[in-house]
């Protein structure tokens, strides 16, 4: 924490992520150049694919919505001093809760089913996070280990249900039957049409707004409520928290459950917004990328929304690239995204230390 003080806010929030991104693109550029393609053309294809046309923007924001949910999930736990790597599993269970809610009352009342689905997604996600949280708080089993193992359990559970009781009748793939008509979140282009202007159809749906609401709620909770203050105290120092009369056990469990609920709501975007059925591995690693999003966004909701948009654009632009340049196969796109995550997350100190030294020197010179 103290090391962050050495840098002015703008350098920490903008300069460093910018440098990390630049380094990642530089290395990716070298890879693309090595493959015999023009790196600048590739970059322009990516940017154009992500922002160049209405549909592309829609897809970028659609992916970004997933990252906002999982990024917020990681950051809430992080502020309580917990590293929740279980976003993936919590999102799967959230999707399951959502699906059960929709099938339970979807035929009777689609609107009510959507509301119950939102509650179901959050509840199942929270419940899946509760077990590791409880084990951490009461038994000292490290939450990193338990949450990552819970991802595998969730994945196996979902696969079992989707080739068993929940499988689409007559189907061969691990997927559920279609949600009943009307039990879905409105697409934003339909909403735009209601208020009078047209937008190319795409997957972007109401859950993008729900994600923004969640971001605001997380900000309010963490920095404007007594509860959030307590949560952050627990994250900074257990002893101080205990001394101040805060129950570390209770805060650990609650923080993890909020985290799980946020991750669980990712299904709103993927399932209720777009797919309209439960798929075996709809989470696609969003839970893991949420970690990188949270760190790149400096664990602040505004930063997370921005970082999520960056990753959303990267996914969408990468997709465009995979298509337009046949030499660049899907695995290289994974490589480029991996490099961004590597530089933004794991190798953050590569630039932090030199930049800090630079600022110190400049500061000293100015003082002298």
């Amino acid at each position: 924490m103290a090391s962050q003080r050495k840098l002015p806010f703008w350098a920490d929030a903008i300069l460093l992520p910018g440098l990390n991104l630049l380094a990642a693109f530089l290395v990716s550029g070298l890879v693309i150049w090595g493959l015999g393609e023009d790196p600048f053309e590739a970059l322009s294809l990516m940017i154009d694919g992500a922002f160049g046309f209405e549909e592309g923007v829609g897809y970028s924001l659609y992916y970004a919505t997933n990252f906002v949910f999982t990024g917020l999930a990681v950051s809430v736990a992080y502020h309580a001093g917990l590293f929740n790597i279980g976003g993936e599993g919590q999102a799967m269970l959230g999707g399951l809760g959502l699906t059960l809610a929709v099938f339970l009352i979807g035929d009777a009342s689609p609107v009510f089913a959507v509301l119950l689905a939102i509650v179901g997604a959050a509840t199942f996600g929270a419940a899946w996070a509760f077990v590791p949280a409880y084990l951490q708080a009461k038994r000292g089993s490290h939450v990193v280990i338990t949450t990552i193992m819970f991802n595998f359990i969730a994945s196996a559970l979902l696969a079992y249900l989707l080739v068993g009781p929940l499988q689409r009748p007559g189907g061969q793939m691990p997927e559920s039957a279609d949600f009943p008509d009307g039990a879905s979140l409105m697409h934003l282009q339909d909403l735009f049409e209601v208020i009078g202007f047209s937008y190319e159809s795409g997957p972007l749906n109401l859950s993008a707004l729900i994600a923004l609401l969640c971001a605001f709620a997380v900000w309010f909770m963490l920095w404007r409520s007594r509860f959030g203050y307590e949560l952050r105290v627990v994250g900074q120092n257990h002893d101080a928290a205990r001394f101040a009369g805060i129950s570390v056990t209770r805060m650990t469990v609650i923080a993890m459950m909020i985290s799980g609920a946020l991750a669980g709501m990712m299904g709103l975007n993927e399932l209720l917004g777009e797919q309209h059925r439960l798929l075996g591995n709809f989470t696609l690693g969003y839970g893991f990328v949420g970690i990188a999003v949270a760190f790149m966004g400096r664990n602040h909701p505004v930063g997370i929304v921005l970082a999520a948009m960056l990753f959303g654009a990267l996914y969408q632009g990468g997709a465009e690239l995979a298509f337009e340049m046949p030499n660049i196969q899907r695995d290289y796109i994974v490589l480029i995204q991996g490099l961004v995550i590597l530089f933004a997350g794991a190798m953050e100190h590569l630039f932090r230390d030199p930049v800090e030294a630079l600022f110190r020197r400049v500061g000293q010179r100015r003082a002298a």
């Binding site: 007559g170 159809s201 995979a322 994974v334």
Partner: protein
């Protein structure tokens, strides 16, 4: 670690096309592969070979895309349909629901789907009688085995793959009645197609239990089974594409499923204007399935075996031998 990384980038790479105006001169079909990926030396590669042949013969290029997960099926189909692709060919049973959803939304776009049956006026469904081809390779296995134990290794445990097993077993039993069968399936989710490590483990265990020939109907996972055969000095039977060249002398034969032919024909027909929706079945009689015989396995298949196979083939085509099927292999949606 591999799993984590796979998930990490799973969404990556949805495909989009910037299609220009459509004209007969620049007919541009789209080919969407299944999870295994383009160069899997099996099912998807067969599709690529077909499209490639179309490109070479007509000079018209094609666009293709490899999804990383089943969530991408629908997204990819929609992207291409929105951009008015001339023909979208989707290979793999996984595409069934996705093609149904997207084709209903885009009635003016033509879709060809392989291994699934979609009853819509703009969808052409092509399925194969895999059991007939499997019957022939089952005969080869039965004639070749010395341990009187033969194995079957399926990819994803679904009725479609059970159909391979059914034909294989029936073909083997047609030759001799004293055989022991061992069968395994790599998994129950689409990732089972792409897990050669696990497939190799299972194949090794089958060889250890006495099998000397294993037929794997597992897409790219089957390469693990061929590797295991090579390592243990046994024989393997490839699937979909001609895999004899993967390990000459080790691959006894391959059960050909002519996805290449289906893809080529669909593209060619669409270009020439006589593409039609509906359901086509490709069996032995239509040249849709067969066993592979080339310079890599010529030494393994004797003239006597060949004669018996030709005889059985004629009987199947004539309807004298009816190869059993598995219910639900190609379900309509």
């Amino acid at each position: 670690m591999k799993k984590l990384f796979g998930r990490f980038g799973a969404i990556v790479g949805l495909a989009f096309a910037g299609f220009a105006a459509v004209g007969a001169a620049d007919f541009k079909p789209v080919l969407l592969y299944d999870i295994g990926g383009k160069f899997d030396k099996s099912f998807n590669e067969a599709a690529y070979v077909g499209a490639h042949r179309f490109e070479e013969e007509t000079g018209n290029g094609f666009k293709d895309f490899e999804p990383n997960s089943e969530t991408q099926y629908e997204q990819a189909l929609k992207r291409f349909a929105r951009r008015k692709a001339d023909l979208i060919v989707a290979v793999g049973v996984g595409y069934s629901v996705a093609v149904r959803n997207v084709a209903a939304d885009f009635p003016n776009v033509k879709f060809t789907v392989i291994d699934a049956i979609i009853d819509l006026p703009n969808v052409q469904s092509i399925t194969f009688k895999e059991n007939e081809g499997s019957f022939l390779v089952g005969m080869i296995a039965a004639m070749k085995t010395e341990s009187r134990t033969i194995g079957f290794l399926g990819g994803m445990d679904i009725p479609l793959i059970r159909r391979f097993e059914r034909g294989y077993r029936q073909g083997a039993e047609y030759v001799r009645g004293d055989l022991t069968f061992i069968e395994n399936y790599v998994g129950t989710t689409p990732s089972a197609w792409n897990d050669p490590i696990k497939a190799a483990e299972m194949a090794r265990s089958q060889y250890a239990r006495g099998a000397d020939i294993i037929f794997s109907a597992a897409g790219p996972s089957g390469l693990g089974s061929i590797q295991a055969a090579k390592d243990t000095g046994n024989l393997a039977i490839g699937v979909d594409s001609n895999q004899n060249h993967v390990a000459p002398g080790v691959v006894l034969t391959s059960m050909l499923k002519r996805v290449d032919l289906a893809v080529y024909k669909a593209m060619k027909a669409a270009q020439d204007g006589h593409w039609s929706a509906g359901h086509n079945v490709m069996g032995l009689a239509e040249g849709g399935v067969d066993f592979a015989l080339d310079e890599h396995n010529a030494a393994l298949i004797t003239a006597e075996m060949k004669a018996k196979l030709d005889d059985a083939r004629a009987k199947i085509v004539a309807g004298e031998i009816v190869v059993g099927d598995v219910e639900g292999s190609n379900v309509g949606h």
